[in-house]
Symmetry: C2
Subunit: 223 residues, 2 copies
DNA sequence: GATAGTTTCATACAACTGTTTGAATTGCAA
DNA sequence: TTGCAATTCAAACAGTTGTATGAAACTATC
């Protein structure tokens, strides 16, 4: 293959348009116009519209997943096979939140695209998300090693709630800003991460003997 | 107007089809075929496809909101203007969860429709959801009265996390079941409510003097 | 039972969709 | 330069979509 110029122009244009206007009302003709290429180029290079969307989403989500696993692995190695639950949860939700939130004006196209993907949920993306379960099982494993006394069901619920808080905050960031009249600062990503991790940790450790200091209020124990 | 037969047949057919197959691939022709009425009837009775969807969603969500406010009002009256935070949170997430989860075999069309609406987020529904902020402010008010020492920002985050856990659990109930290999019982709605309320309460009260007994583990304090 | 208003119907419309086609163009190797 | 494959292009295709139309059927009132 030659220079990939057309191919990457399509990818860039598609990501930008989907990020700005959503999957619902962006057509292939919009994309090729934005990219300055011919309509048939999409099917030539990607096979179909759905495969184009899938490639966009896969690219971004493997980046996030790789970062998650990198943090998880580093934490478990440092702890000799067992990482503190806070660190595991941070590895789980940190990369996702950092990838999607942050100062509005410098929020990348990729970030805005991933927010869209989490809001609209179109078939090709849903298919990919369904394969994410194996990835999550690695975190379940780490969490069980970290909290061996905790029941398996509680682990699943804790994981579910951690993901819930992260994803919902991303999806509804605009509404939270409006509801709180700007008082909730979603641009301070590390504060958001700390809040989510703090609550999820409490969910997973409440009612047990705590080897560590009691959980603090919402957030504040970020760094 | 005569008997409303056509109108309600359309509503019922549309809700059923949307619940089963999603908004993405149900056309007006599918709906009128299922309802046994003429294609033009939709535009005659509802004006447009979007207005039909909006009417379906509004009907169900005002039911939920009414139930929420009923529980909230009852709780505050009983407490002389101040309700315990657990009860407020239960009023917030209980009706939603009860409306969407529950034993699969008896899960109503309305419930499955609302799950769809929370997954797919099509324009007419998004427009309605955006008007939900005033409704949420009533809960913010109640929460501030219940926890007068808590900062306003913490209240907003607590509300955000409570809604996050409820909605995400609804949206991803299938995935949680698969991930936990059926060990997380999503048919026991009251257990789910108790878990969400418990964690949200911890998020809102951690690190403070507690007039009540310390929060128990995940759930169990349901009723 | 004639009339006026409402509701239903078959049908056409106009626009838009993703995809395909086959010819033109390009780039590179021999 | 020649030849061949990869790429680009304009154009058309085939199908679907929500909506509009105007006539027909119905309903209730007088």
């Amino acid at each position: 293959m030659a220079s990939d110029h057309t191919r990457s122009a399509i990818l860039a244009a598609a990501e930008r348009l989907y990020a700005d206007r959503g999957f619902g009302d962006v057509t292939l003709r919009d994309i090729v116009a934005e990219a300055g290429v011919n309509l048939a180029a999409v099917n030539y290079h990607f096979g179909s519209k759905d495969e184009l969307i899938a490639e966009l989403f896969v690219t971004r989500s493997v980046q996030t997943n790789r970062e998650r696993l990198r943090e998880l692995k580093a934490a478990e190695e440092e702890g000799g096979g067992r990482a503190p639950i806070e660190v595991i949860l941070r590895a789980l939700v940190g990369p996702t939140l950092r990838g999607c939130l942050g100062p509005e004006n410098q929020r990348s196209t990729a970030a805005r695209f991933m927010i869209r993907a989490s809001i609209e949920s179109v078939p090709p993306i849903r298919r990919i998300k369904n394969r994410e379960i194996d990835h999550l099982r690695k975190f379940v494993g780490a969490m069980r090693r970290s909290l061996p006394d905790r029941s398996e069901v509680d682990i699943y619920w804790g994981l579910n709630f951690a993901l819930a808080m992260a994803h919902h905050t991303i999806r509804e960031s605009e509404r939270l800003t409006k509801l709180s009249e700007g008082k909730c600062d979603l641009d301070d990503v590390e504060d958001v991460v700390a809040r989510v991790v703090s609550v999820a940790t409490m969910a997973l450790t409440a009612g047990r003997t705590e080897p560590k200091a009691p959980a603090r209020a919402l957030a504040r124990d970020a760094r």
